[in-house]
Structures are given as structure tokens and as C-alpha cells.
């Protein structure tokens, strides 16, 4: 036993003494920040994304694989606003990596640079899975991604000053290109203004605010609480008075409740990618919003 331990430690020390690799290891909690880090960091960063678009970001476990990747990360890019409260603190703590602890330059929270919506006026778990910092699903509005891009670029520069010019150049290019894309998406999405919709989980608050859609109801009686038949019946009754065009859900959510409502209220059920990788078309940040708007336009017909 002792010999094995010694052997392991020796091997580890040898591994540590090898000169550090040139790229910055970025650990993104969710795919959108992984995609953004790739846009901004290019080949100077190596990006690991801890979750995929088909996973509910609220309910992730501190898996061994995630802890292992956090161990060698130089920068953690998280959403914040308690989206990852159930697992990220445990991951950073168990990884033992001093660089990525909260408060260190290697820990970045996107929500700090965005205007948060739905900040609860009272905090009580009787209201469901409420987040004290506001609704954490900020990436559904691309303008938030743009807002996060500048401080994230600054952070990359801070951690890897040798490549400062490279990051700044890419940051500028991204902002210009993405800014233009946002303008195009807004033109494309003009018909969606005022369209009444139903959401499954309150995951699209920012998207709805951005495109000026009208959220009529949510299928979850309270955030994070599974829809019950009684509640769905109430929603159905509401929809008979106030027509909605479609019910939207994130790719990671079960389609049961959406389908139930869609069939009975005779509205479209639309699955949105929610983040990069949520649909085959949402390959990157551009594809994410292209596809989101395409699907919404289709659903609104």
C-alpha cells in the first residue's frame, strides 16, 4: 500500500514538473460559456464543458470526471446567480485547485455583468426553486452574451497577459460580428413581438424580454416544481380565455407537459435548443439564436 502511494506521488510530482502547456485551461459549467470562451480564446484556450445541453443545469452532480477537469483548470466560467449552487462549490472545493476558488481571478461568473430579471422580492422555498440573484437563464438573450464577452476577454487577458493582444483582437472581432448578428436576429424576429406564449419552465425570461413576446403562463406551478395535472388543467382553462400561439420548452426538458397542453389547447409545442448543442442546428452561439428564432417563427405560424 505504502509503496503504491509513494509510486503515485512520485509519478504525480514528475507530471507536475513538466513545463506547463501553453494553452489556458477553461472549465465552463454550461455549453454557452464554453462556446463563448472558444470564440474569445481561439487556439490559446482549451475548453472543457462540464454539462451538455440535454442536462438540467440545476441538477448536476459533482461527478468524478468534473472534479478531475476542475483540478487542472486555470479559469472557471460559470453562470452564477446560484444556477450551479448545488454542484460547483463542491467541485471547486474537492478539486483542491486554489486558482479557481470563488473570489480568485480564475473564477468568473457571467451573471455579475448582466441585468438580472425576476429578482424575487421575498425568499421562501415555498415559492419553488427561486434564485435570490434573479432568473439565472441569462443566455437566452444574446445581448447578455455580448455583455459577458468584454469582461471575459478582460479576464483572459489578466490570466494570460502574454496573449493579451490576441484576446483583445478576438474580443473586438467577436463583439462586432455578434453585434451585427443580434441586429439581424432582431429584424428576423420582428413578427414575434407581442406573440402570446406558454413556457414549461421559467427558463426563457430573457428571451421573451428581448423579443417582446408575451408570457401568458408557465406549466410548472412554481419554478422547478413538476407540473401536476390539476395545475395543467388550470393553465388549459386560462388558455381557453387567453389564446397562446405555442408552448416552449428547453431541449433538456421532458415533452410530456408541453404535449399535453399542446394537444388540448391546439397550440404548437416548440422545443428550443436553450444552449449550444441543444439541437443539431445549434452548433455554436450563432447557430443557437438562428435556430431559436427559426423555431419560434415556425411555432408562431
Amino acid at each position: 500500500m505504502k509503496a503504491i502511494l509513494q509510486g503515485c506521488l512520485m509519478a504525480a510530482l514528475l507530471a507536475l514538473s513538466v513545463p506547463a502547456v501553453a494553452t489556458l485551461n477553461v472549465f465552463a459549467t454550461v455549453p454557452e460559456w464554453g462556446a463563448l470562451a472558444e470564440e474569445l480564446g481561439g487556439d490559446k484556450v482549451s475548453v472543457y464543458v462540464a454539462t451538455n445541453a440535454l442536462q438540467d443545469p440545476h441538477h448536476i452532480e459533482a461527478k468524478p470526471s468534473i472534479i478531475a477537469r476542475a483540478r487542472s483548470a486555470d479559469l472557471v466560467v460559470a453562470t452564477g446567480a446560484e444556477l450551479e449552487i448545488g454542484w460547483l462549490p463542491l467541485v471547486t472545493q474537492r478539486s483542491g485547485n486554489p486558482k479557481i476558488q470563488a473570489g480568485k481571478p480564475g473564477y468568473f461568473e457571467a451573471a455579475a455583468y448582466v441585468t438580472m430579471l425576476e429578482k424575487p422580492s421575498r425568499l421562501d422555498r415555498a415559492d419553488g426553486d427561486v434564485h435570490p440573484g434573479g432568473n439565472p437563464h441569462i443566455q437566452t438573450d444574446p445581448r447578455n452574451v455580448l455583455r459577458v464577452a468584454a469582461p471575459l476577454t478582460a479576464r483572459l487577458v489578466e490570466l494570460d497577459p502574454a496573449n493579451a493582444a490576441y484576446y483583445q483582437e478576438r474580443g473586438k472581432a467577436f463583439s462586432e460580428r455578434f453585434g451585427t448578428a443580434i441586429g439581424n436576429w432582431e429584424k428576423l424576429a420582428a413578427p414575434l413581438k407581442g406573440v402570446p406564449i406558454v413556457v414549461q419552465h421559467k427558463a426563457f425570461t430573457y428571451l421573451i424580454a428581448w423579443l417582446g413576446m408575451n408570457e401568458v403562463a408557465a406549466l410548472e406551478p412554481k419554478p422547478g416544481v413538476e407540473p401536476t395535472t390539476a395545475w395543467l388543467s388550470e393553465v388549459l382553462a386560462l388558455l381557453s380565455r387567453q389564446q397562446a400561439k405555442m408552448v416552449i420548452r428547453a431541449a433538456y426538458q421532458s415533452d410530456r407537459a408541453s404535449q399535453w397542453i399542446a394537444e388540448r389547447a391546439k397550440i404548437n409545442a416548440v422545443a428550443l435548443p436553450f444552449t449550444v448543442g441543444g439541437t443539431p442546428e445549434a452548433k455554436d452561439l450563432y447557430g443557437l439564436y438562428d435556430d431559436t428564432i427559426t423555431r419560434l417563427l415556425k411555432g408562431a405560424k
Binding site: 451538455n52 441538477h59 448545488g86 483542491g96 474580443g171
Partner: protein, 474 residues
């Protein structure tokens, strides 16, 4: 550190009155109100925020200008990228609430209670062929609160983190579950832990009871570790900087937890070491496996056992105790999304070897007090599977098996005999988890602990968690 009100009012002034940050006049305020009213129809959420800021501005307008410029400048500069349309506020990270409670630690409480129905007298609980470890009685009959916990944790300063968890037992006593500090500023990813904590040997050992998938601990934990192994001492863990999860850990301590005991001795009383490895097979499957070793010693560890003539003899063991554990856990969920359906398979195999001296009739009640050699080699395992078949609902099965193995009583062999009976237990549980913070469980189990002792048990249990958000452990 400026007060939050100051920050808010500073922001408000900076944003609403952009260039001119002198004390607000009544006319200015009236104009802002008018603007707000206009916007209200379409931007209710944003307006609320603005109104708050406005109130703050009214209250503190005189004090604001000093702090306004630098504080407001920072986030605005950070969001300097060309925004497609002006935003109401590029807000700074929210300032936390101040005051005397501002640095209060995170607090959480776990409330647990049980209704139990046992066919046999829990006072007669014992495992054939195993030295009783103390805490193996599942629960008192009927209603009881099982261990309820109160936990406090926070960063101490820039170098330390502290955690205190105490539990309230059904007997109305308070005991320390964990009370430890962590040195967070250590290099090489080592975060030394010191104090009283659950050892990280095995898989289940460092998980709190309320996080278990069954009401009670597996038999191997009860037989070999007396429930859970508490380490009172030091721990160092290190995670290798590799894509495969490799964690090495070592602990030393006072050795006062079963199978050791308090020996009135300087130095260390136990040493533990373990290796955990883990990873993902694909997006759906993850695993972890481990090997652990614990060495400790006991001095006059007393227990009573029926001897070959049927007397209840008091025995005392003095010697070394070595425990080895092999554990694994495998979890599956479609694409790693455990919300709808998931499956967890877990098992642990225990070996324990004890060698030393055994005093027969330690209290002299039988007038036969004598000490002889003692050597035991025992093992056991449990295996369990838990299936979440729809959101919030799970069903699980567990099988426990113990092998009393070989016990050499040396010169006490005339009075004491080993057992060849394998204690076994089979459990089935259902639980309902309406949210992350509440769980209700019913568990049926049959425990064949001795040839003449088969207990049929029913437990109904609730677990309620209040306060700070718990961690999603793998």
C-alpha cells in the same frame, strides 16, 4: 466599503442623470418620475428596479456624488462592447446586505423522523459471530425523531474554512457529527482538514445519513465500523491533475472510533489511506471505484457474548484492527440528465482482521477471568440498486451479507466458539422526493442476524432540509 444604499444611489444618479451628478432637484426627480410612468406599460420589470434606485436617490441625493463616478464607471467600462440597444443598467455585482449578521455562516438544518415497526425486540439486536459494535439497533419502535442535524459553515479568513455539524439524537442528546477546519491556502491542491470529521474511506462513509438511499447503514458498516468511521485528527487529500479522476487521501487520528477505542495514549491511534478513481464511460454513465485501508487498535474494548455454556460473558479485546474496503458506484441517466430517470448501482466489500488478546470474563462475574490470544478474519459486502422511474419517485433494493470467517480464541477456545452463520439482510425501499429539500421513504426489510433471530422491519421516514442549499454529491 461604501454602503449598499450608497452604491445603489450612486448608480442611480450616474445612470439617470448621466453627466450632471450634483444633488438632485425636485424638478429633476419629477421628470424622472414622468419618464418612468411612460415606460411602465412595456417595461414593468425594469421599472421596478429603477423606482428602487429613484427612492434611494431621493433619500441620499446629497451624499451620493462623491462615490458616483468611480463606482459607476467600472461596470459601464466592462460592458463597453457595442450594445445593439441602450440597456437600462449595466449593473455592478449586487452588493450583499450589510449589518451585524452580514458574516453569518451558511446555516442548514435537517429534520428527520421515523415510524418503525420491528417484529423482534430491538434490545436483542446482535450479529452472530461479530463483536457488537455498539450502534446497530435500527430504531426504537413506533414514532421517533432520528438524528436531526444543524450545520454551520463559512470561510474563516483567507486561509481557513470551517464547518460544524451537530446532531440531535432521539435520546435528546447533542453530539458532534463533524467539526473541522480546512486550510485552503495550501499549495499543490492539498486542502488539509483538521478536527472531527467523517473519514473518506469507502464510498458511503463520508456521506451523512440523510443522503443515504436507504434508511439505515449497510450491515458491513454496522459490523466493521460501528455505523460510520469518525476521524478525530487530520486529513490530506490530493486530486491528480489528470482527466481521469484520481484522488489520494490519508488520515491520522486519535483512534477512538470503533473498531478502535480511546486508549489514553499520546501520538496517533489510527491511520487511514485510500485511492479513489472515477470517470465517465459516456455522457450517460459515470463511475467511481476505490480502495481504502484503515489501521487502528483497541485497548480493553468490551462487549458481551454468550459463551459455550450459555452464560452471558463479558469480553475485552486488546489488539490491532485492520479494515480494507473495496467500493464502487456506477450511475446511469439518459444523456446524463438525471431529472427524469436514473439508475445507481453501488457495492462495497469489507475485510477486517483483528489480532491481539482477549480477556474472557473481564468483569469476573463468572469467576473465570483469563486472557488468551485472539485472531479474527472476517468479511462481508452489500450491493444495492436504486432506480428513479419517474421524476421524484424511486425504488431500491439492497442485499447485505456477512461472513464471520475464522475466529481463533486461543486458550479461551474452551469457553468461546465462533459462528458459521452468515447474517443477511434484504431491503426494499420506495421514496418520494417532491423537491431537493424533502424526501419521504418507506422501507421494508428482513434481517436474518442469528440462526434464531429473523427480524421483519418496516420504516417510514421523512427528511426535510432547511436553509443553505445542500451539495449534489456523486
Amino acid at each position: 466599503m461604501p454602503s449598499p444604499l450608497l452604491v445603489r444611489s450612486a448608480l442611480a444618479l450616474a445612470l439617470v442623470m448621466a453627466a450632471d451628478v450634483h444633488a438632485a432637484t425636485d424638478a429633476d426627480l419629477a421628470e424622472i418620475r414622468a419618464q418612468i410612468r411612460q415606460l411602465k406599460q412595456s417595461y414593468e420589470a425594469r421599472i421596478e428596479a429603477l423606482e428602487l434606485r429613484l427612492q434611494a436617490a431621493e433619500a441620499k441625493s446629497a451624499a451620493a456624488p462623491v462615490a458616483a463616478a468611480p463606482i459607476a464607471a467600472q461596470p459601464v467600462a466592462a460592458a463597453a462592447a457595442p450594445a445593439p440597444e441602450p440597456v437600462v443598467a449595466a449593473n455592478a455585482p449586487a452588493a450583499p446586505a450589510g449589518g451585524i449578521s452580514a458574516f453569518n455562516p451558511a446555516i442548514s438544518a435537517v429534520l428527520q423522523g421515523t415510524y418503525s415497526n420491528l417484529s423482534k425486540d430491538p434490545g436483542k439486536y446482535a450479529l452472530a459471530g461479530f463483536a457488537p459494535s455498539g450502534d446497530i439497533v435500527p430504531a426504537p419502535r413506533s414514532f421517533s425523531i432520528s438524528e436531526s442535524e444543524l450545520a454551520l459553515s463559512a470561510s474563516v479568513d483567507d486561509k481557513f474554512y470551517g464547518n460544524l455539524i451537530f446532531s440531535l439524537t432521539p435520546e435528546n442528546t447533542v453530539s458532534v457529527e463533524e467539526a473541522y477546519g480546512v486550510y485552503t491556502a495550501a499549495p499543490w491542491g492539498i486542502a488539509p482538514k483538521f478536527g472531527h470529521f467523517l473519514s473518506s474511506i469507502g464510498y458511503l462513509n463520508d456521506q451523512h445519513q440523510h443522503a443515504w438511499d436507504f434508511y439505515d447503514a449497510p450491515l458491513v458498516y454496522q459490523a466493521f465500523l460501528g455505523g460510520q468511521y469518525q476521524n478525530n485528527g487530520l486529513q490530506a487529500k490530493w486530486v491528480a491533475p489528470t482527466d481521469l479522476f484520481v484522488e489520494l487521501g490519508a488520515e491520522i487520528g486519535s483512534g477512538e472510533s470503533y473498531p478502535g477505542n480511546s486508549r489514553n495514549k499520546n501520538g496517533t491511534g489510527n491511520g487511514n489511506a485510500y485511492v479513489h478513481v472515477g470517470g465517465d464511460v459516456d455522457a450517460s454513465s459515470s463511475w467511481r471505484a476505490g480502495l481504502s485501508y484503515l489501521q487502528t487498535a483497541a485497548k480493553n474494548r468490551e462487549y458481551s457474548q454468550l459463551d459455550t455454556t450459555g452464560n452471558d460473558a463479558q469480553l475485552a479485546f486488546t489488539g490491532k484492527s485492520k479494515v480494507a474496503i473495496a467500493d464502487f458506484v456506477w450511475k446511469w441517466s439518459p444523456n446524463g440528465n438525471a431529472q427524469e430517470r436514473n439508475f445507481k448501482l453501488q457495492g462495497e466489500y469489507f475485510w477486517r482482521r483483528e489480532s491481539g488478546d482477549l480477556t474472557y470474563d473481564a468483569d469476573g462475574a463468572l469467576g473465570l477471568n483469563q486472557t488468551g490470544g485472539y485472531r479474527s478474519d472476517q468479511r462481508g459486502f452489500y450491493m444495492q440498486g436504486v432506480w428513479q422511474f419517474m421524476p421524484a419517485w424511486r425504488v431500491g433494493v439492497r442485499y447485505d451479507w456477512l461472513n464471520p470467517g475464522s475466529v481463533d480464541y486461543g486458550s479461551n477456545g474452551a469457553y468461546l466458539a465462533g459462528s458459521s452463520f452468515n447474517p443477511q439482510r434484504t431491503a426494499v425501499m420506495f421514496d418520494w422526493t417532491p423537491s431537493e429539500f424533502s424526501r419521504f421513504r418507506v422501507q421494508f426489510q428482513q434481517a436474518k442476524l442469528r440462526p434464531d433471530f429473523t427480524d421483519n422491519e418496516i420504516f417510514v421516514q421523512y427528511i426535510l432540509t432547511l436553509g443553505a442549499h445542500g451539495a449534489h454529491n456523486f
